[in-house]
Each structure stands twice: as structure tokens, then as C-alpha cells.
């Protein structure tokens, strides 16, 4: 297990390094000149050059990159181009907000998906099964940004039940989580339904029934445990989608998380802030997948991780 953990950690570091390097280069090559953006169109060249110098953009890109790596190894994500904020402080202040939004979304989506997926699997062909499949098709076809606006107009503006924007308390979770859950639940429901149907047809389930084990115990202990394996895999894979989705949802709901931070920083070409936000998102993504891999062995002892002792 130790060997496996070391190997995975090395892989994760390589992935994160590739991501931040790519973002670093793309910003410098394709995102333009922040110094020009920060100054008036008729600003003298000396002023532009002084701004570049102040931002550290007057050095060749490879020198900037070396400075970036040196600072990163020292735990320093740099200073914001606007003001003199520490990128690390701003990013780590935003991270819990995104993490909470993602966690609640996964929790709510999983509960809904388990209820609807199991219900549909146990009643194949019934009105419930058909209704669930209609919901799946419907939810898959709704764009998140449209749903978010509609939810805000109905529940915040018209009815006044919930906040339209910001993170001001537990009620603030309702609309963004609903928006993201509608995007996430279809694939979870389909996976759980299919997994349950296949598991219920296994010989050991039939044997359990033949031995007179209660239906509830068969479902909760034998079937659910096996069927949860693809669910966990899927949530790990979907963590990328959840992070990406949070970029859209956070901006619509003015949610002070990593997604909004990154988009706002990009609009002002605040390179260090974009790099910091992407770095933290990449680390989060690989860690979630690492945890998912670890969960496999717990859920199914037959699985041995390659390289584990």
C-alpha cells in the first residue's frame, strides 16, 4: 500500500505540474498583455513598460516560469496583479466555499439518485420507472445557466423565498445545489438503476433469497454494497464536471468560490490569481480521485491496487 501511495503521489504531482505549466504558458502566450489592459489607450509607452516591470512581465517567459516554480516550491503562489494580495490567501479563502458547494451537491445528488435509481430498478417497466427515465432525459437536456436563471427568477425574485445571489447562510445552498444536482443526477440514476438490475440477477442474490434472507437486508447489505462501486467510480470521475460546473454556477449566483475567483481573475488577466485557482482545482481533482481509488478496496476487498504490497 505504501508503494502504491508513493507511486500515486508521484503521478499526481506530475499531473498537477503539467496542468499549472500548461495554464502558465497559455496565459502568457494567448491571453495578452495585462499591462496594456490596466492602462488607458493613450498611456505613454514608459508607463506601460513600468507596469510590465512592476508585474514581472518584462522578463522572458522561461525566466518567469522559473521564478514561478521557485516560488511554488516555497509554498508561495505569488501576488495578485491588482492590489497586493497574496494569491494563496485569496485562493484558500475561496476554496472552502467551492468545496462545500460541491460536497452538498454530491450528497444531495447521491441521495436522490439512490432513491430514484433503486426505485426504478425494483419496479422495472412501472410508472415509477418510466417517470424516472423521463426525468433523466429532461434533466440531461436542460442547460445549467438557463435553469439557474429560471430558479432565481421564480424562487428569489418572484416568491422571495431564497437568496438570489451570494453565500449568506444555509439557504444560499438551495438554488445553486439544485442547479448542479439537476446536471449530475441523470448519469448517477442511470448507473445505479443498471447496476442494481444486474446485481439483482446474480446467483448469490438468488441464493440469499432462497436462504430466506429478508428482502431489505438483501437490498441494503448485498446489493447496495456491490452496486455502489460504479457509483463511487462515477462520482470520482464526475468531480471534474462538478468543479467545471461550479465555474458557471458560482458566477451566476455570485458564489465566492474558486470558480468565480478564476473567471473574475481571467477577465482582468490577473495571471497569478488564475494560476493559483487552477492549481488548487487540479490538486483537489487528483486528490478526490485518489480517495476514490482507496475506497475501492474498502468496498470490494477482491480488488487489489496495482503496486500495493
Amino acid at each position: 500500500m505504501l508503494l502504491y501511495t508513493i507511486r500515486r503521489t508521484a503521478q499526481m504531482l506530475v499531473v498537477v505540474l503539467c496542468v499549472v505549466t500548461l495554464v502558465f504558458l497559455l496565459l502568457r502566450i494567448a491571453a495578452g498583455d495585462p499591462a496594456r489592459l490596466m492602462n488607458a489607450p493613450d498611456a505613454p509607452d514608459d508607463v506601460i513598460e513600468a507596469t510590465r516591470e512592476r508585474l514581472g512581465l518584462d522578463e522572458p517567459i522561461y525566466i518567469q516560469y522559473l521564478y514561478f516554480l521557485r516560488d511554488l516550491l516555497g509554498g508561495d503562489l505569488g501576488q495578485s496583479f491588482q492590489g497586493s494580495y497574496s494569491v494563496a490567501q485569496v485562493v484558500f479563502a475561496a476554496l472552502p466555499n467551492t468545496a462545500m458547494l460541491a460536497a452538498v451537491t454530491v450528497l444531495v445528488s447521491t441521495v436522490i439518485a439512490l432513491a430514484l435509481g433503486i426505485g426504478a430498478a425494483l419496479t422495472r417497466g412501472s410508472w415509477l420507472d418510466r417517470s424516472v427515465q423521463v426525468y433523466v432525459a429532461f434533466a440531461q437536456s436542460i442547460p445549467s445557466f438557463w435553469l439557474a436563471v429560471v430558479l432565481v427568477l421564480v424562487f428569489a425574485v418572484q416568491l422571495g423565498w431564497l437568496p438570489a445571489v451570494d453565500f449568506t447562510g444555509p439557504s444560499s445552498f438551495v438554488l445553486p445545489v439544485a442547479t448542479m444536482a439537476v446536471a449530475l443526477t441523470p448519469i448517477l440514476i442511470r448507473t445505479i438503476r443498471q447496476s442494481f438490475i444486474e446485481t439483482l440477477q446474480q446467483d448469490y442474490i438468488r441464493a440469499a433469497r432462497a436462504r430466506g434472507i429478508a428482502q431489505r437486508k438483501i437490498l441494503l447489505v448485498h446489493t447496495l454494497k456491490v452496486a455502489s462501486l460504479p457509483l463511487v467510480t462515477l462520482i470520482g470521475l464526475q468531480s471534474g464536471m462538478i468543479l467545471a460546473g461550479s465555474y458557471v454556477v458560482e458566477n451566476i449566483f455570485n458564489w465566492p468560490g474558486i470558480g468565480k475567483l478564476a473567471v473574475d481573475a481571467l477577465t482582468s488577466r490577473n495571471f497569478p490569481m488564475v494560476q493559483g485557482a487552477v492549481l488548487i482545482a487540479a490538486v483537489t481533482f487528483v486528490l478526490v480521485n485518489f480517495v476514490v481509488d482507496m475506497l475501492y478496496t474498502t468496498l470490494d476487498p477482491r480488488i487489489r491496487l496495482k503496486g500495493a504490497s
Binding site: G32, D42, G169, T267
Partner: protein, 523 residues
């Protein structure tokens, strides 16, 4: 039963953790001093004296004075800093006292200002003539240090007559001095001496509000209880960048914001129909052009026929009436109609597709391919405007591709030597002063090709102090630009702010200043 209990317990535990976290978490908020903050009440607009204003433009610039013309920064500055004079009506011939109580022109290049005696900076230092001298000399470029604001000035030195009297001596006669004074915040001479880093960290003005917290996208100000003109009624003023127009509108209508700017035209009726909300506009004050970049397409630079064809091909009134939904006025000059000495150009360039087609042929530009860049999320319905223009131009034989971008991407492509666009849909706001409005077309601006006539007339307008002669100069300059068409003037755009009725006497000026002093609040 035990299974159900476990699930319920698990969910309740997670909910409790979330609730606990949500009460204490920091939503990207940073105290100016310790980068800390508190989310619990950061967005609460229900406080009796707190006002939250959501704006469409990010805070590009920092607090270093005179180094930015960003609208967002200028609007913040007027709440932190004072200037010698104010123009609350927006009319440039109606200055009122601010830090200066009296002023007079001594000779062609000398103005004398008498300062108020009861003014202190936020750090408690009294204002005196040395502060005015240091501020104006730095801003105008007289110290040798390059500043962005110096393009609005001619180099100007200060002479301290006594503690509260200062003379400003311009290098040559300067017609826009009073307007330049209006745009120049007065900074403490000690701060200027301490350098840019000090000024960037702690904005220290004499204005009605003090900065108490700031983050990348949010600035929180508190009332300056010692303000010389009386403390503001608004105790806390929060400025926050929110890019999405729909989010701004939703926040306002849901009561989570007190004011929002750049309200999309299609939302005006919705807001007006709701009880408790109002709209206020600065009408037709922003010059929206298709700006061209020199040397991108030789044919554009060299062929007046091609430029004229483009002007004649575009149905500009239709853009105003249909796409921008009447929140603009069709341009009849290169300076908005609210500009001093504005004159209407002739001919009116009404759409004439046949003539445009013929001019394209005469220019040998049939099938000419080029890019038209538009920035979404800033000017109203920019992408639709761009598509309509491209359709017009393609109809007369050109081959135009619309490139949607964000503002930063558009500005960058226009700046870059490897930029691929020829025309850019952008605006320029100038607040009514003809030098600010028309100086943008002169060297060294990057949009210009170094036209000597334009450069000469802009310089002449700046230094001609006789009103009639100055009007004649600007008349000639506008006529020349209208004939040459170095860019394509489209319309003068409105700037609209929506606000809840708990904010009273909010003032929006033609230069987009949104003044929360002396506004008041009440339920």
C-alpha cells in the same frame, strides 16, 4: 430502523457542519490590513445605513493616483478623494467649490486657487497648498514622471502663495484646465513623497468615504465622519464587481443589492414595472465606434472610398432602434452630443447600399476579408450589433467575420502586433470636455495613424482659451474627422443605473460618476 437512523444521522451531521461553516467562512473577502474578513454580514444590505452597489466593470487598476483612466477606478476615487472643483450638474461651465473656495485666472497661463481651511486627510493630516502643488505637478507630468493622466493636462507647476493659496502655472495656455482639475484627485504631499507603493496600499484622501476593506472584486468604504462638508448619510458603501448582467438584476430585485449599473436595455421595463425601483441614465455620453488599427489593412488606411463605403453600408439608426433598444443616439460626430463645442457632421451618412457597393468596387475591395471584434458583457448587445453590421457589410461585397471576445481579449488583440482584427466595437467616454473627447484620435494614441491635421487641431484646441476661437477649432476638427472617417462612428450610448428606492438622490453624471454623496438612504 438502524439503517434509517444511520442515514438520518449522517445527513444531519453534514448539514450541521455546513451550517457551522457557513456562519464563519470567508468568501474571498480580504481585509485591507490583514486579509481577513467575515462572510456573515458581508453581503447584508438590510443594515440601516449600508448600500451595496454592483458594477459591470472589474477593478482593473490600483490606488496609485493618476496612473489609470479606468471608469471603475475613477468612480471609486471620487468617494475617497476630493478635487479642487466639482461639476455636479455635468455642465463644464458650471463649476462649484470643493477643496477650492475661490479661483481666478491671473493671466493666460496662471490660475490662483484659494483652499478651504478646515480639511484633513483621512490620516488626520491637514490639507494645505503644498499638497495641491505636489498633486498637480505629478499628475500633469511636470515632475518628469510619466503618468496616464498627463495626456489630459499640459505640464503645470505649482507656486505656494501661503498655506491655503496656490497658483497653477501651465507651460502654455490651457483651455481645459478646470476640467483637468476636476479629474485630478488631491493627494497628500507626504504620500507622494513616500512613493507609489504607499499610495497603492492605503488610499488617503480627503473625500466623504474611507476605504476599510478590499478584495479583488470588492471595495468597502465607510463614512468619513470628519468630512468637511458634513458626514455622509450612507454609513457603509460596498462596491462589487459582478460580471453577469442578469445576476446584477436578480440581486437588485431580490433586495440583495441597492444599486446596479449598465442595466441591459431589455431589463429596463422589468425594473420600471417593479415597485420600489428606479432607473437613472447619463444620456448619450459614450462614443461607440468601430475603431480601426493603423497598418492592419493597407487598403483601409489608404482608401477613403472603402471607409466611406463601410459608413454608408451600416444601418446605424436600425442598430439604435432595434438592437440597442433606443438606449442610444445615432452618432453625428466623433464627439458625443453632450460634449462642449459638439457639432453635427454633414452628410448624415444614411444607409445607401447601392452607393456603398459602388464605392467598394471603386476601392477594389470586393471580397476583402477582415475581422470585426466585439466584446460581450459590456456594451449592450454587442454581439448582435456586430452580427448586424457584418450582415450589412457582406451585403455590399465585403467579407467580414465577427469575432466575439471579452473586453480584455479585444483590447489585447487591438494592442498586439500580431493582432488579427481590423475593426473593434468599443466605446470612449470623456465627460463632456472636447479635449478628452477628441484627443483620443491624436498621436500618440494607438488608434491613430499619425495624421498631422488631427494632431495639430487637437493641440490647438487644448491651448486656445478664447471660447469662440476654440469652438471654431473643434468645429474644423470634427468636420475633418467626419470627412476622413479614420474610424466608423456608430452611436452615443446611454449609461443606466438602477437602484432601490431606499437610496435617494443618487446622481449619475455624463462621465459615469455615480455619486453616493450627498445621497441619503431610508426605507
Amino acid at each position: 430502523m438502524r439503517g434509517k437512523l444511520k442515514w438520518s444521522t449522517g445527513i444531519a451531521t453534514v448539514a450541521l457542519v455546513i451550517t457551522a461553516c457557513s456562519a464563519n467562512e470567508v468568501p474571498g473577502e480580504n481585509d485591507a490590513d490583514d486579509q481577513g474578513g467575515d462572510a456573515g454580514d458581508s453581503n447584508d444590505t438590510s443594515g440601516d445605513d449600508s448600500v451595496r452597489f454592483l458594477i459591470a466593470e472589474n477593478f482593473w487598476a490600483d490606488w496609485v493616483p493618476y496612473q489609470s483612466t479606468a471608469q471603475s477606478q475613477a468612480r471609486l476615487n471620487v468617494h475617497i478623494y476630493d478635487t479642487l472643483l466639482q461639476f455636479p450638474s455635468g455642465e463644464l461651465d458650471q463649476p462649484v467649490p470643493s477643496l477650492a473656495t475661490e479661483w481666478e485666472q491671473v493671466d493666460a497661463t496662471t490660475w490662483e486657487f484659494t483652499l478651504r481651511e478646515d480639511v484633513t486627510f483621512h490620516d488626520g493630516t491637514p490639507l494645505d497648498a503644498e499638497d495641491v502643488k505636489a498633486s498637480i505637478e505629478l499628475a500633469s507630468g511636470a515632475t518628469g514622471a510619466e503618468t496616464v493622466l498627463q495626456t489630459r493636462w499640459v505640464p503645470t507647476t505649482g507656486e505656494v502663495v501661503d498655506d491655503h493659496t496656490v497658483r497653477l502655472v501651465t507651460e502654455e495656455p490651457f483651455a481645459s484646465l478646470l476640467n483637468a482639475v476636476r479629474q485630478t484627485p488631491i493627494v497628500s504631499s507626504e504620500d507622494i513623497e513616500a512613493g507609489q507603493d504607499t499610495m497603492a496600499q492605503e488610499p488617503n484622501g480627503t473625500g466623504p468615504f474611507t476605504l476599510v476593506e478590499e478584495s479583488e472584486t470588492k471595495k468597502t468604504m465607510e463614512a468619513n465622519e470628519d468630512y468637511w462638508n458634513g458626514p455622509p448619510e450612507i454609513g457603509e458603501l460596498v462596491w462589487e464587481f459582478v460580471a453577469d448582467p442578469q445576476t446584477r438584476v436578480s440581486a437588485l430585485l431580490a433586495g440583495q443589492a441597492d444599486a446596479i449599473d449598465r442595466v441591459p436595455a431589455e431589463q429596463h421595463a422589468t425594473i420600471e414595472d417593479e415597485d420600489g425601483f428606479s432607473l437613472v441614465s447619463a444620456t448619450a455620453s459614450e462614443q461607440v465606434n468601430l475603431w480601426s488599427i493603423p497598418d492592419r489593412e493597407p487598403m483601409w488606411d489608404e482608401s477613403p472610398e472603402l471607409r466611406r463605403a463601410v459608413m454608408l453600408a451600416i444601418d446605424r439608426p436600425a442598430l439604435v432602434d432595434s438592437l440597442v433598444m433606443g438606449e442610444s443616439v445615432t452618432a453625428d460626430s466623433f464627439a458625443p452630443e453632450t460634449t462642449l463645442h459638439h457639432t453635427s457632421g454633414s452628410p448624415s451618412y444614411e444607409q445607401d447600399l447601392d452607393e456603398a457597393r459602388q464605392l467598394v468596387q471603386e476601392a477594389g475591395a470586393e471580397g476583402l476579408e477582415f475581422e470585426l471584434w466585439v466584446a460581450s458583457g459590456f456594451l449592450p448587445r454587442a454581439e448582435q450589433v456586430g452580427e448586424a453590421i457584418a450582415a450589412n457589410l457582406n451585403e455590399v461585397g465585403l467579407n467580414v467575420r465577427v469575432v466575439p471576445s471579452d473586453v480584455a481579449g479585444l483590447v489585447d488583440d487591438s494592442n498586439s502586433e500580431s493582432g488579427t482584427g481590423l475593426l473593434y466595437h468599443l466605446s470612449w467616454s470623456s465627460g463632456g470636455d472636447p479635449d478628452a473627447a477628441l484627443g483620443i484620435y491624436a498621436t500618440p494614441n494607438r488608434w491613430t495613424a499619425g495624421d498631422e491635421t488631427i494632431d495639430q487641431l487637437v493641440a490647438e484646441g487644448k491651448t486656445t482659451t478664447d471660447p469662440q476661437q476654440r469652438a471654431a477649432v473643434y468645429d474644423e476638427l470634427q468636420a475633418y474627422l467626419w470627412d476622413e472617417l479614420p474610424h466608423i462612428p456608430l452611436y452615443y450610448s446611454d449609461f443606466t443605473v438602477a437602484y432601490s428606492d431606499r437610496v435617494r438622490d443618487l446622481r449619475v453624471l455624463p462621465n459615469y460618476e455615480t455619486d453616493f454623496y450627498p445621497a441619503s438612504i431610508g426605507e
